[in-house]
């Protein structure tokens, strides 16, 4: 299991269909414009935002460059605080641990806090195969789960749905939805509250991810809004946390940076409604048993890429999605992965490798405008990594015609005589066209003109013009 969805087409194919969906484009345009304005307002309040970004990036780099040290420290701290630490090489191993813990407690269902890690490993499907029902409790995840849909955004998985569509999903798939449910967001939220209440109060096993794991103190952190996280973290007897190995932070003090960066970048708030931190087991308060699964599943592969490594700084805020012109038009599903948008375009191939058509197409799902880097709270240079991955994709799968063309060009450009002859030939071609651009090239060149026009070669080269107007004496 990798972060990508099975059988997804390459990005350009999926994006073409998405761009034609006017309802989707309206929903996305509205939602991303709203969140961009909110983020800009609260980021603008802090005149040291750049210093916070620099600190955030540096803390993450320090952690990643000594990840083995901090993982061992985290394990020691967690164990000392009464948590049980498991290590999972891949998705199957992590899913097996969750299922084992649930079965050990005779649980046929678990409640879940929204977590990218558990989505990445396909936990819900794996538990279902073991006869265990996994209930999503985040409102947007609930909308996706009830609608038998796929998430399309890191923070707001149902961003592609508007209120009217959400009302329809609730009426269709939520047996206890109130008669006469309106599409007012407050009424929809109240319906979700009533629907999940009993489940929270009776659940015995909860599954979460973690936003941060502090090595020094063994403290896990969940940043959330609705209180579904607090319900899952406090009421059930058993808590299983699936934590990507890149989530570790060295010290408790480091949270002072990330608890400023994350809420302002993600929901555009000074602070999100609820942040929970806990260190292992606290007698008389919350779960009696805490399991922490440290998950690799491709992270060490990404870590080995010295340019791509920086993607592991990501704190899953989704600011890069909200500012991306490509994401705003194509939507999250086109990326074919649980990680959509600019960060997904690099993270998916870094975690899973440039293995299939989808992974190889993702580094091109960008105009390289750089808005994602500007918005990133931990300064991931996404355009740099995109270019790096493009070069890897090309190197891995070179086209013989392209290689031949490049070799020919090299010979021609090395010789002044051949070069000037080639330019003159191009000028002749240019004279065949009356307009300034070529709309369709023949043969393999068609791949270029499918998406853009090709320029017409100048009728006269600069060299010829220079010789003609200044003479040859200079």
């Amino acid at each position: 299991m990798t972060a990508t969805y099975l059988g997804m087409p390459a990005f350009p194919v999926a994006a073409r269909a998405a761009v034609a969906d006017t309802q989707l484009r309206r929903n996305l345009g509205h939602a991303t414009a709203t969140i961009r304005a909110k983020r800009a307002a609260v980021v603008g309040e802090l005149d040291d935002w750049e210093e916070l970004r620099l600190a955030g990036a540096a803390i993450k780099d320090r952690t990643l460059r000594h990840l083995d040290h901090y993982l061992e420290q985290l394990e020691t701290s967690l164990t000392a605080r009464g948590a049980t630490v498991h290590w999972a090489v891949d998705a199957a191993a992590a899913n097996a641990v969750v299922a084992e813990v649930a079965k050990a407690h005779g649980a046929s269902e678990v409640v879940k806090i929204k977590s990218m890690a558990t989505q990445e490993i396909g936990l819900n499907e794996a538990l279902e195969a073991e006869g265990i029902a996994a209930y999503e409790t985040d409102l947007a995840e609930l909308i996706v789960q009830l609608g038998e849909d796929k998430p399309s955004h890191i923070l707001v998985p149902a961003i592609h749905r508007n209120r009217a569509e959400i009302r329809e999903i609730f009426l269709r798939a939520m047996p206890d939805a109130p008669q006469g449910l309106t599409d007012r967001p407050a009424d929809l939220a109240a319906a979700a509250r009533a629907h999940l209440r009993r489940r929270f109060l009776s659940a015995r096993v909860a599954v979460s991810g973690a936003n941060f794991a502090v090595a020094e103190t063994g403290t896990l952190t969940i940043v959330e809004s609705e209180g579904n996280g607090r319900m899952c973290l406090t009421l059930p007897e058993v808590l299983v946390c699936v934590v990507g190995i890149e989530k570790v932070l060295p010290t408790w003090q480091d949270l002072e940076v990330f608890l400023q960066l994350l809420p302002r970048s993600s929901t555009g708030e000074r602070m999100n409604p609820y942040t929970s931190t806990w260190s292992g087991v606290t007698p008389g308060d919350g779960p009696r048993e805490v399991h922490v699964i440290l998950l690799d599943n491709g992270r060490t592969r990404a870590l080995a890429d010295t340019v791509g490594r920086q993607a592991l700084r990501c704190i899953r805020c989704s600011a890069c999605l909200n500012v991306c012109p490509v994401y705003e038009r194509a939507g999250g599903h086109a990326y074919g992965s649980v990680y959509p948008g600019p960060i997904g375009a690099i993270l998916t191939p870094l975690l899973g490798g440039l293995t299939g058509e989808l992974e190889n197409s993702l580094p091109y799902a960008s105009t390289l405008c750089g808005a994602c880097f500007e918005a990133c709270p931990v300064r991931i240079d996404i355009p740099e990594v995109l270019l790096h991955l493009r070069s890897k994709a090309v190197t891995a799968k070179r086209h013989p015609a392209q290689d031949a063309a490049m070799r020919t060009a090299a010979v021609v450009m090395r010789s002044p005589r051949l070069w000037s002859r080639a330019l003159r030939l191009a000028g002749v071609t240019g004279r065949l066209f009356r307009r300034g651009r070529i709309r369709r090239l023949p043969g393999p060149g068609a791949a270029w003109t499918d998406a853009r026009d090709a320029p017409v070669p100048a009728r006269e080269s600069f060299r010829d013009w220079w010789t003609r107007t200044r003479g040859s004496g200079s």
Partner: protein, 203 residues
């Protein structure tokens, strides 16, 4: 080989390009501010809490009991075992001892607590299960949370709060009533946590 050894081995192999030595050799510039505001922190705290559509009332120490009664009279209230007696005089208040079951908690209308500290910049209150705060479920299940914050508990900003808090304790940072932005990214108050948050600010 255990999964632990395998992962740590892969991490070390992936970091072959990184020179050894102490993590502290990697510089972390901490040039950000410790505080964004220095004066009128209590007023700023009140304003920022209210921004989340929580109710904020400034009261004097002498007026606190009356303010509590105003907010909670006639309701079934649960309180941590160690809240001051003066807070609960005249209320239908039940102390969490022995601890209420989840069903019992679900049947009360409100919870009354103190807090560990407040953060002015972000309008946040933090509970650390310390004095007058009780276990985490107390302030989660009831629909109305009345929280008493003393002016001297308000710190300026997030770094000061992190420094003052003990990570060993289970912490809950609360910024307004429970809310969601999951529908069209508009904030709506009132999902699973308390839908009403009332902060009594003792000045």
């Amino acid at each position: 080989m255990t999964a632990r050894d395998e992962i740590l081995g892969r991490v070390r192999a992936a970091l072959a390009d990184v020179p050894g030595g102490s993590p502290d050799d990697e510089p972390v510039p901490r040039d950000y501010r410790r505080t964004h505001h220095d004066v009128d922190l209590v007023a700023l705290f009140a304003e920022r809490v209210a921004d989340y559509r929580a109710v904020v009332r400034s009261v004097s120490a002498d007026g606190l009991a009356a303010a509590i009664a105003d907010e909670l009279a006639g309701q079934r209230v649960v309180v941590p075992v160690d809240v001051p007696q003066t807070w609960t005089d005249g209320l239908d208040a039940r102390r969490d001892e022995p601890p209420l079951s989840v069903e019992e908690l679900d049947a009360v209308d409100a919870v009354l607590t103190g807090c560990a500290l407040g953060i002015a910049e972000t309008g946040t209150i933090v509970l650390d299960a310390g004095t007058a705060q009780g276990r985490r479920a107390l302030t989660l299940v009831p629909d109305r949370h009345v929280c008493v914050v003393r002016a001297d508990q308000v710190v300026a900003d997030v770094p000061g709060a992190v420094a003052a808090l003990d990570p060993v304790r289970p912490l809950t940072w609360i910024s307004g009533p429970s809310a969601t932005s999951d529908i069209e990214l508009q904030r709506v108050e009132g999902v699973h946590g308390p839908r009403i948050l009332i902060v009594l600010l003792v000045t």
